[in-house]
Symmetry: C2
Subunit: 174 residues, 2 copies
């Protein structure tokens, strides 16, 4: 499947609703547990996604368009949300993510990006040269893989209760 | 996390809405592509889930309650949906799954299952003795892992477009 802006919007614009349908009004055991040390709970993922909307995706798009390869992206802080999410509940984070994403989609659409823009380059602090096409594709993939992660982390909470069926579920050992 | 019927309903009753929010009105490239030979597309997963509602989960619950270990479950046909889904579109399958699940949840709730019931046993054709607790836990996990699979399969459609970022996404090689 080739990159296409409309197909990317199809995913980016629905992610907040997907996460709401998955997590809204759920008990804490489904939302707050993780997969083990140094892994994210669904709650952590929400904070991580919000942090990305605030500091990462739109900033990097703007940097590619304004500065190209003359400036390097700010490294992404994958743990900033531990502090930022403190004292909040899942519902607040779901609403915050939805609002941030809506605002960012409005802004990205207002750029009227063209095929020429998609080839423009920026500098990633670890990966070197990347294109706007790759950045937006990765934004989409980042959404989808975190949705997959949330569902997997939730599934694992029942791992001890499924008995011998576990051998049919390769994903439970991922 | 320990098995609990209400916590299981929390997941089982929301799965149709989660899949709708993830797949409704999406282009075919997101819905019809899979991860390679002998893997499921999101469309295939919907058919697989419908088949489970029709022939597997409720039948096995009923069999444990009525026959215990004196009868063996009918083996699950993991490929029946290729025939059953023919000529249908994703929206029809989403609606069909929603209706079947609603009906099954209504039926399961009407059983007024108790702690004693959860320890009752049946015979799985490959796994041998399993309890009702394990069967319902596996139903929940089956939902969540297929949601994870759908999101992962969708993410993989953009794999070639993400460039060097792929090294940060372990899940893309699963």
């Amino acid at each position: 499947m080739q990159f296409n802006l409309d197909k990317s919007y199809e995913i980016l614009e629905r992610t907040p609703a997907v996460l709401k349908s998955l997590l809204k009004d759920l008990g804490d055991e489904w939302v707050m547990n993780n997969e083990g040390p140094e892994t994210f709970s669904p709650f952590d993922v929400l904070g991580h996604l919000i942090h990305g909307e605030k500091t990462d995706w739109p900033d990097r798009i703007a940097m590619i368009l304004e500065y190209g390869t003359s400036k390097t992206f700010v490294p992404y802080d994958r743990f900033a949300m531990y502090e930022a999410s403190k004292g909040k509940n899942a519902e607040q984070l779901l609403n915050e993510f939805e609002a941030m994403r809506r605002k960012n989609m409005h802004w990205v659409r207002s750029l009227n990006l063209t095929e020429t823009d998609f080839d423009k380059k920026g500098i990633h602090p670890n990966l070197g040269e990347v294109t706007l096409r790759q950045l937006i594709s990765t934004w989409v993939i980042h959404d989808l893989t975190h949705i997959a992660q949330v569902a997997r982390v939730m599934a694992k909470q029942y791992k001890e209760e499924m008995g011998p069926w576990i051998e049919f579920f390769r994903i439970m050992s991922f």
